[in-house]
Amino acid sequence: MLSVKRIMGAETEFGISQPGNPYANPMRDSARVVDAYAGPRGLKSSQDFWDFETETPLADARGFLMSTADAHFSQLTHLPQTQPEAQYLANVVLENGARLYVDHAHPEYSSPETLTPRDVVRWDRAGDIVALRSVEALAGTSEPVNLYKNNTDSKGSSYGAHENYLVDRAIDFDDIVAGITPFFVTRQILCGAGRVGIGVHGETPGYQISSRADFFEAEVGLETTLRRPIVNTRDEPHADPSLYRRLHVILGDATLAEPATLVRFGSTSLVLGLIEAGHPPEIALADPLQALWTVSHDLSLSAQLPLADGTSATAIEIQQRYLDACRSAAGPAPDADTAEVLRLWQEFLDALARDPFELADSIDWIAKWALLEQYRRREDLAWDHPKLALIDVQYHDVRPGRGLFHKLEQAGRIRRLTSPEEVEAAVTSPPEDTRAWLRGSVVAKFTEDLVAASWDSLILATGEESLIRVPMKYPLKGTRALVGDVVESSETVTDLLAALGVTRLDQTAHRDDSEV
């Protein structure tokens, strides 16, 4: 039976600005953000702290490797040390198993691996608190920094809010592309963040559903920073590559409204399950890129999207076909997480067909649109008025006292799924049911001995002038259920390594029985 549960994670690149100083170096400020969070908490922050051994950003899911010489500079996930900016590449692994670091010119929070959409929401939101703590720490300095959970400055630049889903390696990548493209093109009606202005520079006045759609220029490809594709082919599973592929989704907007985040991840996980089972709906768009732009620019939600078979369908109709297929594959008694996503997804589609403003409490593009419309009418403003552009940016300010999303939520105008207490706990606690638990627990308990870490490894110093690399290629191992007692009872990293059965000193040998 189809279930929403799978290994998932959310990445947020925050917009960054120094009030009144547009010339501030964003790489330097991003490093200050990371350090401002890490420093007071005793977390290590440096470029060397991330173990790049297993990073292969130029591996393509279609089966070839791009050469470094052919790659655009911005495609590399780490800079050569000879680059002057290398000094700003701060990297921290947090107690909750997340990674906080400088990605290009933005601070990025990559959530720990989670298994359910509810947990994605919780640990994604924990990242917003991490960002807030940094802003608060820098507020008292001579160069305060503000952070925005958004995706564009409407001056030609965009930055991502990526999603990651582990998918069965046995599935042919072309089947993923064919099965998921119509879903991705239309998904924005459920979870777009909204944007004032049309076109990459916002050159045409108006409002649109997605903040990212105008920045996409290809259907399939490896790039994430230029010629962005609807389906990204980066093939870097951070896990056993014979079992898993990681679908790296670069198309989405950062969502603040929790119901939208839940549906964004939940519906995508279900559709990937359909594809794994070999039963996605048989829909093909005649021109996916044009459809992506059309859907984003069509606030009436009525545009007919031409299909490859000569017929056409609206975004809502295409989404309904995916939802019907998922509901049918989930059977009569889906698990609670799956049932919640199916229910909310249907609720969204029904309300979108009836009156989108019913969802002003659930979906960012509609919450922001309602606010802008009311403001625009009251003040009689044209869509190109700077005040509307300001509202567009300030909706995403991470500060509860300044961010308009937060003001709406505080006023009870946004539906919240988490409690502030559980989000606060997630800032310092890892999810218990994935390997993030071991990573976060080691950060919390053995920070001094942790030399480096990555998604699928920990490097520990044992005090014998040797470093031991703990491979973690299996995301469903390293859980509290599997290694909780071991971590609990270990006084030192040597105890821990012995209890985990990791004894070898050779960092390069691969022996699966030592996997934890």
Partner: protein, 66 residues
């Protein structure tokens, strides 16, 4: 560094990358919104909006990311 966005204007088939869009018409949908409650939100928001919208928007310049 050269992390700046590369923006291409030549879209597939020479199609205009920008679909002209009518300003959103709230229409009957708008009537569903409780305007009184929203008004109090707008008043509240006025107090937190950055004071110089034009300058703020001009200064909000980002480098491209992923």
């Amino acid at each position: 560094m050269s992390g700046q966005e590369q923006i291409r204007s030549n879209r597939k088939d020479g199609a205009d990358p920008v679909d002209p869009v009518d300003p959103p018409v709230a229409g009957q949908a708008q009537q569903q919104v409780n305007t009184e409650a929203v008004d109090s939100i707008l008043d509240d928001i006025d107090t937190v909006l950055e004071s110089n919208a034009e300058e703020f928007v001009r200064n909000f310049v980002q480098k491209g990311g992923q």
